[in-house]
């Protein structure tokens, strides 16, 4: 019986967060703690000619200095191309070059300043077009020698670290069947995750050589694997521990400060070393979203039905591949859009440039093609004289339809999302304004998103001697509410009250493998694992209770942490009584599961997505034609989540996605000078939306169940960011006739286009 699933129960972390008691990584206290500080490259591309650390080592209080020359570790999720510290060559402004550990932070800063570096600058490339030219400087001359997973196809001698090609149907035939064929090109900028908590890590290596790391990383087991591969140690000799994370948005994965702290800890004889990045370091030396260029050629009939799409995508991954190769693959998988497209050809390139590394960012490569295919959808509607909503409804995928890659999709609900948001902003009624210089209009856009497939989640559940429950999971609470949602699923699966459940934090020595807390996969994958593990416990309880009550196990009813026989509801045994009856001297009942969805194909991203998420956003906005400034009046946002385990939490995820996506599209810009240096690494000049900028938002939940999801549920965190930006752009185009192909609606650019039109 669902007592918790479907209820907006209070978040289990609410009270400790509101009262400031929740522990974050930098709050942890350690005896003999050393403070680590990193020296970053001051240029975008060059050879390290001289690196002198003697002066730093002589400063009293400095206990270790480490440089890239001493290390030969290479990291990377799909392609091992990234040294912990630059070895002979730096490839972006901000790249770690050396680090020191000292008794206090001030000494560490002084020591870093005392390190002398001389570079010989090399020509640098900052954008995709430059990097793809035949005579472009090649960032990684050793590309062909790097280890990589099968799904990643680097092209030696170029800046392309992965080329991905896929197709379905016959595009030439599809274009021949079309009445019109249109080609359009779109671009999207890099942007920053801007988590409120900066990246930090503490590393400690004990006498037996066990490496312990406390970190802000969202995905403990993936981090453990990547670090163990690079360091060539076995996975049981490296322990990753994670507390609450103050926002990830995809950024807090991969190798960031952890390898740097470990490299220092290798020299400090057991003393722990902590690195906490400053905001400037977070901006320049961690991660951004991929800038992209996307060309779409689409065939369409007179009536507005899509016949074929041929799409080229270029993802600017910065100086190292990080998760770029798989971000590209997921972007390509979604690039067609959530529509019936019988013929499709996709070619994607992931490209190095001399910039901060680009990697996972809420949406995992899908917000960029969403910008492109939904901008083009409005252009097609306009060219054909069809209403943009109708254009989408005509082509929208429905339950069981094959998607553009030929794989059937379930739990769709896209039409319902579109119809709901259209109704909410009164799509049929004109947008009226009484100011002559203000134009007002409505815009709509849809999205879809796959999850990484196949990927596994393990869990241990312990029913304790007193009837309480411990759940051992490596899912991270990054603010998305996973601890609450997983507890709700567990409570119902075990038939116990929510308050008896305790959800662990990730600790790779204790909590079993989970692929990652990314890709909106936790509710689905860890939720399924929990149900499976809970079944072990439920089965054992039934069997013991059946014996005690002298009935068959299938006649036992479980409810509110008690068991009774169907035939005799008055004789009730609590779980505590049951467990204590059999294990009188003390004991527990164990449940375990590893959920790994069956999938065709193997390896990372080798298989069609195990579920797809669908949603649509609509906006009502005004633009001041004298200043180019956009004011969003109202947003309606609907997502099919299969089943809302915690409806309020879903609503908050949708609101958060809308705000972040709107902010990306209206305000956010990483500005570099002509030497590739970031000039705005702070929250004053890197502008994220403030509370004053947030419009009225109506989040709406659609529940078309996913057949494989726990209670029918799937994810929502990532798709919630995707369509808002392009819905805004579509409304601006309707209001003014001006459309920007670039996903940053700067008033400067809108105004100059508006002036051109006059």
């Amino acid at each position: 019986m669902n007592k918790n699933v479907g209820q907006s129960v209070n978040r289990i972390d609410a009270q400790e967060k509101v009262t400031g008691k929740a522990l974050f990584n930098a709050d942890l206290k350690f005896p003999n703690l050393l403070h680590g500080k990193v020296l970053h490259s001051s240029i975008a591309h060059g050879k390290i000619k001289r690196l002198e650390v003697e002066k730093a080592l002589k400063i009293p209080g400095v206990e270790a200095v480490v440089t890239g020359q001493e290390l030969d570790y290479l990291g990377g999720e799909a392609l091992k191309d990234m040294p912990f510290f630059a070895k002979d060559r730096v490839r972006y402004y901000g790249e770690p070059v050396a680090a020191v550990a000292a008794v206090d932070y001030e000494t560490a800063v002084k020591a870093v300043d005392a390190i002398e570096v001389e570079y010989e600058e090399l020509p640098a490339v900052y954008d995709l077009d430059e990097a793809l030219k035949e005579d472009a400087p090649v960032l990684h001359p050793d590309l062909e020698n790097y280890e990589h997973i099968k799904a990643c196809q680097p092209k030696a001698g170029t800046n392309i670290c992965n080329e991905f090609i896929t197709e379905h149907g016959d595009v030439e035939k599809g274009f021949a069947e079309a009445d019109y064929v249109y080609e359009d090109e779109f671009t999207t900028p890099a942007c920053h995750h801007a988590p409120i908590e900066p990246f930090s890590a503490i590393a400690k290596i004990d006498e037996e050589g066990l490496i312990k790391v406390w970190t802000t990383n969202s995905s403990a087991h993936r981090l453990r694997k990547d670090l163990c591969d690079a360091l060539r140690v076995s996975q049981n000799r490296l322990q990753i521990m994670v507390n609450y994370i103050g926002g990830s948005f995809g950024g807090k994965g991969g190798l960031k400060v952890e390898p740097l702290a470990i490299a220092l800890a290798q020299k400090t004889k057991g003393k722990p070393v902590r690195i906490v990045y400053t905001r400037e370091e977070v901006f320049t030396a961690t991660l951004t979203r991929h800038a992209t260029k996307i060309k779409i050629k689409t065939g369409v009939t007179r009536d507005g039905y899509l016949t074929a799409k041929s799409i080229e995508l270029y993802y600017d991954t910065g100086a190292y591949s990080e998760k770029g190769p798989t971000v590209l693959i997921q972007g390509c998988e979604a690039a067609g859009g959530p529509y019936r497209i019988p013929n499709l050809h996709i070619k994607g390139n992931c490209v190095y440039t001399n910039k901060t590394i680009a990697g996972a960012y809420r949406g995992y490569g899908v917000i960029q093609p969403t910008w492109a295919f939904e901008s083009q959808m409005d252009l097609l509607a306009e060219r054909l004289g069809i209403d943009p909503l109708e254009m989408r409804l005509k082509n929208a995928l429905e339950e069981g339809d094959p998607n553009c890659l030929g794989n059937p999709v379930y739990g769709v609900g896209l039409k319902e999302c579109l119809e709901k948001v259209a109704r909410e902003i009164n799509w049929d009624q004109p947008a009226i304004t009484d100011h002559p210089s203000i134009k007002r209009a409505k815009g709509i856009a849809s999205t879809w998103e796959p999850t990484k497939t196949p990927s596994g989640s393990g869990v241990f559940i312990v029913l304790n001697f007193d009837g309480s429950v411990n759940i051992s999971t490596s899912s991270s609470e990054v603010g998305q509410g996973s601890r609450t949602v997983l507890a709700q699923i567990a409570a119902d699966a075990l038939e116990v009250p929510l308050k008896l459940i305790d959800i662990s934090f990730p600790d790779t020595h204790v909590t079993p493998f989970d692929a990652s807390t990314t890709a909106s996969r936790t509710t689905f994958h860890m939720g399924n694992a929990i149900i499976k593990a809970a079944n072990d416990i439920v089965k054992e309880i039934r069997e013991i209770a059946a014996e005690m009550l002298e009935v068959a196990p299938e006649d036992i009813i479980l409810d509110n942490a008690t068991a009774y026989a169907k035939s005799n509801p008055t004789q009730v045994l609590s779980y505590k009584e049951i467990i204590q009856a059999v294990y009188g001297a003390g004991g527990c009942i164990l449940g375990k599961a590893f959920y790994y969805p069956a999938a065709k194909g193997a390896g990372i991203y080798g298989a069609p997505s195990v579920f797809w998420m669908f949603g649509a956003h609509a906006v009502d906005l005004e633009i001041d034609t004298e200043t180019g400034q956009v004011k969003v009046n109202k947003v309606a946002a609907a997502h099919n989540v299969g089943k809302a385990i915690n409806p309020l939490n879903v609503i908050q995820q949708i609101e958060g996605g809308v705000v972040q996506g709107m902010s990306n599209c209206l305000f956010e810009e990483i500005i570099r000078d002509d030497k590739g240096r970031v000039v705005n690494p702070n929250f004053h000049d890197y502008k994220i939306a403030t509370a004053a900028d947030i419009p009225e938002i109506t989040p709406m939940i659609v529940e078309q169940a996913d057949p494989k999801g726990p209670y029918g549920a799937k994810g929502v965190g990532e798709p919630a960011i995707n369509p808002i930006g392009v819905a805004i752009s579509n409304a601006v185009a309707t209001a003014t006739g001006v459309r920007l192909s670039h996903m940053l609606l700067k008033p400067e650019d809108l105004l100059s286009k508006l002036k051109e039109k006059l």
């Binding site: 001030e106 004298e626 209206l666 008033p747 105004l751």
Partner: protein, 295 residues
Amino acid sequence: MLREFEYYRPTSIEEAMEIKRDHSNHPAHYIAGGTDVLVNLRQNPDASPSVLISLKNIPDATGIRLENGSLRISTFTTIRQLEKSDVVKERFTALHDAASQLGSVQVRNVATLGGNLCSSLPSADTAAPLLVMEAEAVIATRSSSKKVPLAEFFTGPGKNVLEDEELLLAVEIPEPSDDVYTSYVKHGRRRAMEIALAGAAVKLKLDQKKSTCEDIKLALSTSAPTPLISLRAQEYLIGKELTPANIEQAGLEALKDASPRDSYRTTAEYRRLVIPVLVKKAIMKAMQRGGVKNE
């Protein structure tokens, strides 16, 4: 990380000036709310002062008083105090417009009027409203004190007339008559936490029929190396009917006095496009406050 610096907390103006004088061969700096000074210390450690003299413990250095037809605002009055002041809101409305849009509430709680003026940035939000309201700066000098019209206070980006240990004590603003209306319009990408990309303030005196501009003062922010009074726009509009065409032209006249520049925040070109618009909006806002219904 902040560089090491000496930190003083004098309890009187005299003591503060004495400390500054004693450190005349150091890069010494007064600090009030610190919202500019501390950001600069972090962003530019090599150029940061080695001596900071906090003015926070000097008594009687805050307050807003309307006396003898003049509003005196002491230098350490916070921007939030200006925003919360009824007299500022009702009688010196352009200053209220500026105060309520500066930074965020958290910034306004510590930032001071004196700090905003003494940082002397072209974007200082309080400067343009004070310029149109013909404020005077009251300055403590070595021997006594003096008054300088605010129009003569700013000498360049980050520069002003204060010499050596001189200190801004207060600003004094003549109380406007009842037929005068003021406004300030600020333009940024977001609605909070912004440095004005450009801004315009006006003080408008309407005739009895409320159709003609009897007198006007007009100033711009972030449009020149200093906050700037536009004499051309003032001269153009005085005595003219406030028709849409005339208001539009006043904006273009103001642009002639402006010399906006490119920065990473925006382009000179964009500033040139929006300055006339902001002037127009500021005039219309003042007219609305005077009871004129805009088309």
